[in-house]
């Protein structure tokens, strides 16, 4: 008998019922809720006269619409200028109150982006099934949890039944062996993976990331990798539990303590794939050859190493891909053959659930320390992932480094990752962004996003164009 993958194990442990046609009912341990994808679900409950199955399995915080300037934030809800955003955040407060769901409200220092807050608070733990009406829920897979994004109908379904109705995905293994060069980070690893397998490469799979490079990453780095599993088409990314995981979780507010901790830790140590587990697809990369990555197009797979250049659609044999490249270059206002280092920037955004944890901010601060943001960079934002990340960064003096270099230091939230609040990228502007999506209009109408690591974004802020951060170290 062949062994089981980590995904198989977590799936099997949560299987409530297997239907003959292949669909299954899976029990959900943790449901994370934010303001954008939940109002219609709560409304659905109300209309049907239903109650949450297990209110204490839910954990909520507003993140997408919250303002990030201190002046606005100090006014609470009233500080949200856009009336439609305000209604949405207020609706979350009201719904959580009505249905008895715990919420970190906007004025709570622990508030932040859900995918930063969940692990930080110990609300997401290894071996759990975790869902959220947000595709980047895959982030929590870094803790050895099966974490997936769901739609609003499913949000309502999970609230009402504590279960998800689903078919099991296939197993994919991505192995990154070797070691990373100085200046190359988790973000570069995951962009290189997406560059290799494409944005649909993981569709229908749960990806487990293994190999020396993955093992050597901090929890922050692992979260960055799993965060972007969805950008490779996979609903969930997973990394096996090890001592790094346990060390990260121990002492978190919602982590078990005492005898229960010892029991849980022993169980969690088993959360890895068996030696002889079967994977439907295996992809391998060598960490040694990964360079800092920069996306040049409108899909995360349109990525190149910093030493590279923008591809020429004329040499692309596949007609569909050719027209994709042409459309992307037109939108981005870029020409084939331009060196990545020659792309000029107007804006820099360091933030998002991909890269707004303390380690990310430290890396960026190290690069900008004692320097000044380039003249042509009009706007450079640093938006911590949570209030606690912000607090820690301030204790370490990172805020002062950023401010002295000419970057703005903001309050936590999604911010310009998707620009639902007031932080928007201007039309035609090029932005070096540590977020996860470079889709058309994602960071603002007509905005042009280039996805990079925090260190690369910081280096670009100083130079005014992309530079190889390895040369600065």
């Amino acid at each position: 008998m062949t062994g089981h993958t980590l995904y198989d194990k977590i799936w099997d442990a949560h299987l409530v019922k297997q239907r003959e046609d292949g669909t299954a009912l899976i029990y959900i341990d943790r449901h994370l809720i934010h303001e954008v994808t939940s109002p219609q679900a709560f409304e659905g409950l109300r209309v049907a006269g239903r109650k949450p199955w297990r209110a204490d399995a839910n954990y909520a915080t507003p993140d997408h619409n919250v303002p990030t300037t201190t002046a606005e934030r100090s006014q609470g809800l009233e500080g949200i200028k856009d009336p439609v955003s305000k209604i949405q955040v207020a609706a979350l407060d009201d719904n959580c109150r009505e249905f008895g769901i715990f919420e970190l409200t906007m004025d709570d220092q622990r508030q932040g982006i859900l995918h930063v807050v969940g692990p930080e608070q110990g609300a997401t733990l290894p071996g759990m099934t975790i869902v959220c009406g947000d595709s980047h829920t895959s982030t929590h897979g870094a803790l050895g949890a099966l974490a997936q994004g769901i739609g609003t109908s499913e949000v309502e379904h999970v609230l009402a039944t504590q279960c998800l109705m689903q078919r099991k995905a296939m197993n994919m293994l991505v192995r990154v062996d070797g070691s990373l060069q100085a200046g190359v980070t988790a973000k570069d690893v995951v962009l290189a993976i997406i560059g290799k397998i494409g944005t649909a490469g993981g569709t229908g799979y749960t990806i487990e990331f293994v190999g020396d490079v993955i093992r050597s990453l901090s929890m922050e780095g692992r979260m960055t990798v799993c965060n972007m599993a969805i950008e490779a088409g996979a609903r969930a990314g997973l990394i096996a539990v090890d001592e790094t995981t346990l060390e990260y979780i121990k002492g978190r507010p919602l982590a078990p303590t005492g005898a229960l901790w010892l029991q849980a830790a022993a169980a969690w140590r088993q959360l890895r794939s068996d030696e002889d587990a079967h994977f439907d697809l295996v992809v391998e990369l060598s960490g040694d050859t990964i360079e800092p990555q920069v996306t040049w197009g409108t899909s995360p797979e349109m990525v190149a190493p910093i030493s590279g250049q923008i591809p020429d659609p004329a040499v692309e044999a596949d007609a569909g891909k050719r027209s994709n490249i042409e459309q992307a270059l037109e939108y981005m206002g870029l020409k084939a053959g331009t060196r990545i280092e020659d792309i000029k920037l107007d804006c820099v955004f360091i933030g998002s659930c991909t890269n707004a944890r303390i380690e990310d901010l430290r890396e960026a601060a190290r690069i900008v320390e004692g320097k000044r943001v380039a003249e042509n960079v009009e706007l450079a934002l640093v938006v911590p992932g949570s209030g606690l990340v912000k607090k820690q960064a301030e204790e370490e003096g990172l805020d002062q480094i950023f401010i002295a270099a000419g970057l703005q230091w903001r309050e936590p939230g999604c911010s310009m990752c998707l620009a639902m609040n007031a932080d928007q990228l201007g039309e035609g502007k090029h932005c070096a962004s540590t977020s996860n999506r470079n889709f058309e209009g994602r960071q603002g109408f007509g905005g042009r996003t280039h996805l990079v690591s925090p260190a690369m974004a910081a280096a670009a802020a100083i130079a005014g164009h992309f530079v190889d951060v390895r040369k600065l170290l």
């Binding site: 219609q40 949405q88 220092q109 088409g233 899909s299 620009a419």
Partner: protein, 224 residues
């Protein structure tokens, strides 16, 4: 959810790979706390020349005559023809809501993103995967033939072309059943209430650390 019936409709050929959820419905429209009314903002950034805002009077906005949806011959479309990886990006169910609200009932593509695919079924939209070759053939035919319409029959899983030839397609039997009957997933799942309770009890015993309901501490709250 309304019951799904046979669809006969004009086809819109949207010739792009990786049509993402921001393309389908830009984020500013996600601020609505309602479930309907997204159709006028479907493909907003391509359909109009200016920047859309929620609650704007869309009838007064300048439309982009080059965008295919705005061309007269595609008025009244209900079948969307796409390419690879349709619906990639976010989990926003606003994407299928917008498509459905506009009047689409079927999407034909060579592949779909997982979450989007799943969300379609919950909203009376039928996503159908066809071979790349087949899709390419359909694009050629639609573009060459104004008024090109298809009949999509979910019961027999057949698509009938204007010349009378048919294409068969696969659909998950369970989802097919739910679409045809207009079944609500929650009602279905609640039929298994007993099984869920049993599972929960066992799980609570074997993994009590997932059931910590320490009052998540308003008391810990530290204000800004």
């Amino acid at each position: 959810m309304r019951k799904y019936i046979t669809i006969e409709g004009l086809v819109l050929p949207l010739d792009r790979n990786n049509v993402d959820t921001d393309f389908i419905i830009p984020k500013q429209f996600l601020k609505s706390i309602k479930r309907s009314g997204f159709g006028v903002n479907l493909f907003d950034e391509h359909r109009y020349l200016d920047r859309g805002e929620p609650d704007a009077d869309n009838s007064r906005r300048p439309v982009n005559p080059d965008f295919i949806l705005n061309q007269a011959r595609y008025r009244g479309v209900s079948v969307l023809l796409g390419r690879d990886n349709f619906g990639c990006g976010s989990s926003r169910e606003h994407a299928p809501w917008a498509l459905e609200d506009y009047g689409f009932r079927v999407i034909l593509a060579s592949s779909f993103a997982d979450i989007f695919f799943n969300n379609c079924f919950k909203n009376g939209l039928l996503p159908v995967v066809l071979e790349r070759e087949t899709i390419a053939g359909l694009f050629r035919e639609v573009l060459a033939t104004p008024g090109y319409a298809l009949t999509v029959d979910l019961v027999s899983q057949l698509i009938t072309k204007p010349d009378g030839t048919t294409l068969s397609f696969e659909v998950d039997p369970f989802r097919k059943h739910c679409l045809l009957e207009g079944l609500d997933d929650i009602d279905l799942t609640l039929e298994d209430t007993e099984a869920i309770r049993e599972f929960e009890q066992r799980w609570r015993q074997s993994s009590p650390w997932y059931f910590d309901s320490r009052p998540t501490a308003k008391a810990d709250k530290t204000s800004l």
